[in-house]
């Protein structure tokens, strides 16, 4: 089907969402809670766009691009005054929530906000509650973290806000996907620490480079159906070995 985004005609398939189509066509829409690896969620409200349709008798609406299903003939504007107002409002609020996040600072600056017009949160952290960490953790099949509480009290943590349970495999996917770097972790010679839990480290059998935690490798082996012996060495060592084997086979 055919739709128009910012006066450009673009093609889309049924079942796609506006944001995907826009991104594929190089049309930029800011989005904080969206990641192609997980289901769209609609929490940050930054990807607001204004839509209308020739059949709608002039009616227009503000919708989140990440969740709005494409529709033939839809006319989408990604930068109207209304869109700008809502996005600026959202960023202003987020800046009050996370004054220390450079990501939010930069985005806010793009919308003309240098400093929040609201009261900054006391003892702010970097979490904007975009929910990406929770969704990715669920997606990889661990579901070790979730949101706790609701409303302004809401936070992301492990059950009872203590130490990660056995569900956590220490893969760092949550920390990696976090757009603001709010999830702390550390790695020393022998130990990786995330969500207050210490993990042993598995090293490449050859070169001793870190390749993960025992729980992580176990989990990914089980999840992929591959034998655990696949997960024992780093890519460089494997690569060199395989080359040698390759030569042996061909000669």
């Amino acid at each position: 089907m055919q739709l128009t985004i910012d006066k450009r005609s673009v093609v889309a398939r049924k079942g796609e969402y506006l944001l995907e189509v826009a991104q594929r066509n190089g049309i930029e829409i800011p989005a904080l809670c969206h990641h192609p690896a997980v289901e769209p969620w609609g929490g940050c409200r930054l990807c607001m766009v204004e839509i209308t349709h020739p059949d709608w008798k002039g009616w227009t609406g503000l919708v989140t691009a990440c969740l709005y299903p494409v529709q033939d003939g839809l006319i989408v504007s990604t930068d109207t005054k209304k869109v700008h107002q809502v996005r600026a409002g959202v960023l202003d609020l987020l800046l009050a929530r996370c004054p220390g996040s450079s990501l939010i600072q930069n985005l806010a600056r793009q919308y003309g906000i240098e400093e929040t017009s609201f009261t900054p949160r006391k003892a702010p952290d970097l979490c904007i509650l975009c929910g990406l960490c929770i969704r990715i953790c669920e997606k990889i099949g661990a579901s070790a973290i979730s949101s706790i509480g609701r409303g302004v009290e809401k936070l992301v943590s492990v059950p009872y806000e203590t130490v990660a349970t056995a569900a956590c495999v220490g893969c760092l996917s949550c920390a990696n996907i976090c757009p603001t770097g709010a999830i702390a972790f550390s790695e020393s010679e022998h130990c990786r620490t995330i969500w207050s839990r210490n993990f042993e480290l598995v090293r490449c059998e050859e070169c001793k480079a870190v390749i993960g935690t025992p729980e992580q490798l176990e989990h990914f082996a089980r999840r992929s159906g591959l034998d655990r012996s696949y997960f024992t060495k780093c890519d460089s060592c494997r690569n060199r070995e395989a080359a040698a084997r390759f030569v042996r086979v061909t000669f």
Partner: protein
Amino acid sequence: MHLTSPEALKRLKSQLVRQRKENKSVITVCAGTGCVACGCAAVSAAFREALKENHLEEKVEIKTTGCHGFCERGPLVVMRPEGIFYQRVKPADAKQIVEKTIKQGKVIEKLLYRDPQTKQLLTYEKDIPFYNKQERLIFGMNGHMDPTSIQDYITLGGYQALGRVLVSVHPDEVIEEVKKSGLRGRGGGGFSTGRKWASCRQAEGEPKYIICNADEGDPGAFMDRSLLEGNPHAVVEGMIIGAYAIGSHDGYVYVRNEYPLAVKNLNIALAAAREYGLLGADILGSGFSFDITVSRGGGAFVCGESTALMASLEGKIGEPRAKYIHTVECGLWEKPSTLNNVETWANVPTIIEKGADWYRKIGTENSKGTKVFALTGKVNNTGLVEVPMGIPLREIIFDIGGGILDGRAFKAVQTGGPSGGCLPESALNLPVDFDTLTEAGSMMGSGGLIVMDDRTCMVDVAKYFIHFLLEESCGKCVPCREGLRQLHEMLEEISRGEGGVGTLDGIERLCSVMEQGSLCALGRSAPNPVMSTLRYFRDEYLAHLEAHRCPAGVCKALINYSVIEENCTGCVVCKRACPAEAITGEKNQVHKINSEICTRCGICLAVCKFDAILVE
């Protein structure tokens, strides 16, 4: 008993009506939650005792019924068939009622209701203004039946609409009838019920689900509870008819966890309906099957929102999701689902029974039928009232509600629950219907009506509701979660007299972001309490901001308590009552309040008998 055809149901009804002896005396004791709290169980027991003593158990029946609505005056007892209305009945009165009223046909004056306006004693239920301005389409049955008795419901004509529909009406015709009746959802949104059903019927996907929303989270609202407690079969019958029309075989009732009696009575009703062949497989021998599961809610206000409710039913966290694809197409477990409010479902049997044309006569152009309101606040008669749509607010508050408590002046009425709005005196003549209330900056919501007198500060009211929403926001989306945090902060500032007039512009800007940007209707309507008070009571905001005054004398940072010397008799009552020990003064001497220590708790004002405490 298992009924296998609508004819069998009809026969059962005639039999039950015949059995119910003509003119047999019935003592109906209200056992709604309000009356239970006032001790109605002891009253019923006392009646049973008194009847036994007088050997009248055979001749007189005691019926414990659901809520009659006039909770303010409970425990309520109505003597039928005469309709004599006794209020605030104590167990000790039972003996006298049996001896005088039942045996001698005499009315006991001290238990009658006195009209506060005309000062007249009123004998009959039908003469009481609280009732006679109402139109009790849905609630009428409550006072006449025992909610745990399916036979009572059938005697009053229950399940006949279902019986007729199953054999002689095509599902499409049922939907047409509901469409034509103009019924709109009573849960808040006011969406056309018939249109919702039609979309769900047409939607692709099997199975289809029917859901009854009994989450009722609005503070002060209890009509859904009273319906489920007092007349559960009406809701069940409505759902079965809906299921037949839509083509669904699975139904859910999502009941708020805090409603144990509703759950109990509903479960009794469901079991009875199954036993009678009115629910389950092959209903009334028609070949149509449908059953209902009761699910107890998660106890969050936001779980009343349709998508959050469905998530919660699925066992997930009760958070809303976007509805760009409607729940009638993709709802519970991603299947087509129809969600309606308790009261909406309860309207269905009446519409089918009496016909859409009859139903359309009640109400206004675009809002048909009646609406049940929970009337609370500073009004004489609090309770549940069912009125035809279009009735002016003034009639509800002053005629049915009996005016403002303690004869004070009316200031505002808050309609529509926490995210509704506050309407001033000038709006009192507006007809109550979906569209008029929305235009006036408030909404119908689920039907809360909170009356406020002149001692209410509108900034404080706005702050109260914003605080409620702040605690109930699910926190998923930024505008609602962070917006409410900031909005509450700004209102706190205003109530301390801080901030400039610019604060109001800031509030309006923020409200617009929340309205347009929030994910679900909670956040989108959350600004209502603030916007409506700003619209009608802007002066009061300005008084806080510019003059640093709280005209209603509520906002603690802006008021001072002092003693009016001319009035003070030196009785030391206030001095003794003050928890902060801020009052000094010897007996018979004028007292003084130390403003430094005073915590503005208001106790002195409440205890002073000489009007000697000044708040300004």
